[in-house]
Subunit: 347 residues, 2 copies
């Protein structure tokens, strides 16, 4: 099965390309399928409310490093990652299934810690764990979670509804999870050289929490209802702002202008970036794992959100021909490219 030419082409397809490629012949045919592959979650109808289903598979050494990720946090995060996709549909999660494969390296206590985090997330987000599997693997830990939620037909928000002149908005702040990861990796390197060294993590609790124990934006669909608005398109930020904006543009058939100077950062993100001598813009655009919501709104809704501290307008959509562009602080236009977390990168 070794074939360098083939392997090269799997690499060049990347994570999103590969699944597109593999599922190119799939045509939803069942009468209950309203939306199959191509959004944050699939939408089904079993009369009455629409249900949404989303799934994620996390593997050790690729998505997480148990050298510095506590298993309890990992369990919590694995759930959050899935629920974030449900909120990105403007839906409410209701159930999850969890399957894990573990090698002999993991004892019962370790698996319990993992499930403790899973149970905590279920309690916090009000979802039921309704099934799953525990099985063996020859090496490492694998976690697969499927989340199911519901919404009325009118509430659902897809990636495909953005129109030129819509406002491009984001919740919270960006780049924190990536800078938290950089900090953890630096301290892990120090630890490898000197196991007696004390990790230098003081003052960075926020970015560490963003990386190790993120939350999904449960509050945002509720906020939308309160404000009486409905996004024209929405996606969660798991792979970096660039990649997510490109998804919205591609699915909606529009372009966009993203303003560098509008991107929201936490102070710790900026301070850590300074320490690493890097621009926090890189963390926001390509870092990923922020689990904030990125969405578009009709211009007419500006007054409804302009004073909300949790929402920042970071740009606007344009005609498709104008492309997806970063408007740099100096005013120059730079095409956005997807360089986010690519777990098919096989790096």
């Amino acid at each position: 099965m070794e074939d360098n030419r083939q392997r090269e082409s799997i690499e060049s397809l990347g994570e999103f390309g590969l699944i597109d490629y593999l599922t190119r012949q799939v045509k939803p045919a069942h009468s209950t399928t309203l939306k199959g592959i191509g959004d944050d979650a699939a939408v089904l109808n079993f009369s009455g409310q629409d249900i949404v289903v989303t799934t994620d598979l996390l593997t050790e050494g690729i998505h997480f490093n148990l050298m510095y990720v506590p298993l309890k946090h990992l369990g919590y995060k694995a759930v959050v990652v899935n629920l974030s996709d449900v909120y990105a549909m403007n839906a409410t999660p209701a159930q999850i299934t969890v399957s894990i494969a573990i090698s002999k390296r993991f004892n019962l206590e370790a698996v319990e810690q993992l499930y403790e985090g899973i149970h905590m997330a279920c309690a916090h987000y009000g979802v039921d764990l309704i099934g799953g599997d525990t099985t063996s693997s020859l090496t490492g830990l694998t976690i697969s979670i499927t989340a199911i939620g519901s919404a009325t037909r009118e509430e659902l928000v897809y990636r495909s509804g953005a129109r030129p002149n819509d406002l491009l908005c984001v919740t919270g702040d960006l780049g924190g999870a990536y800078m938290g990861l950089q900090l953890l990796e630096r301290e892990n390197q120090v630890f490898k050289v000197n196991p007696k060294a004390t990790p230098q993590l003081d003052g960075y609790d926020y970015i560490l929490q963003r990386q190790l124990r993120p939350e999904a934006r449960k509050d945002i669909p509720e906020l939308f209802r309160k404000l009486g608005i409905k996004p024209t398109s929405m996606i969660d930020i798991s792979d970096g702002l660039s990649s997510e904006i490109l998804h919205l543009c591609k699915n909606s058939g529009v372009g966009c202008h993203l303003y560098e100077e509008k991107i929201p950062y936490d102070e710790q993100t900026k301070a850590m970036a300074l320490e690493f001598n890097m621009n926090p813009l890189v963390a926001a655009l390509n870092g990923g794992e922020d689990y904030e919501l990125l969405f578009t709104l009709p211009l007419a809704d500006f007054d409804k959100i302009k004073n909300d501290p949790d929402i920042t307008v970071i740009g606007h959509m344009t005609a498709k021909e104008e492309g997806a562009m970063l408007v740099a602080t100096g005013g120059s236009l730079i095409p956005l490219v997807a360089q986010g977390w690519n777990h098919m990168g096989r790096g």
Copy 2:
């Protein structure tokens, strides 16, 4: 994380015990959850039809050996395994999600072969592939599938409804998948010693198909409707007849008498068992992977099924106090023990 005492206790819990243990605090709380952990599939209600959700995680070296399992067959089988759980609820599958993690060893052609089998199964069973993930792993192949189906409230069949005197019935024949696996493993050993040897597989097409490319019993829920019957309990046979009978007994609070002489075998299963100098009973009781349906019926329904070539009455349920017993051909009673495929066995 190494701790022999802890590892010992994870081993002693086994596959079913571990998930019971880990989820012991789970109490379905959401109003849409009718049935959480504890059956072949979870049951949700989003008004109108009830939906069922089931999930499986398959890992290389544990659930399959790519030395003799073609990837296309593996993809097909991975879907079938999940759909079998939906049919075991007397429900009709409608959608699946598929997530895979692959190491660098797999090229695009390999992944395509896997998906070809997945697509074939979707077409054959009339289900939509509605989502999933492709990601990297450090070693080996992992496949995670979630299946969703629906049924009316009245149609659903759980593991828990069997009553004393109910007939214990099984579809098709048993032990074939296990004997197919023995044959494949034997030829694989021969191949390791002499790569030029021609595999001796002639005349065993049926048991090879049972192992490599099994089908789920899509026809059985349809047959029940046609015959105007509804099982009092049902489960699919993935882990061996002993283990599945014990599930029905435990969940229904009954005992049973299983008659050795009634267990249906295909001629190839018997012939292969003879070649291996073993009793096909062992393959049926402990072999697993037959994906037939095991169910109980009120005695009054006997006339409706007695002439159906696809259904065999293999015993009857008893009071709980009588235990779950194999009635051996000589008439002696032997307690059934679960010795099926235990993927937490870590052997």
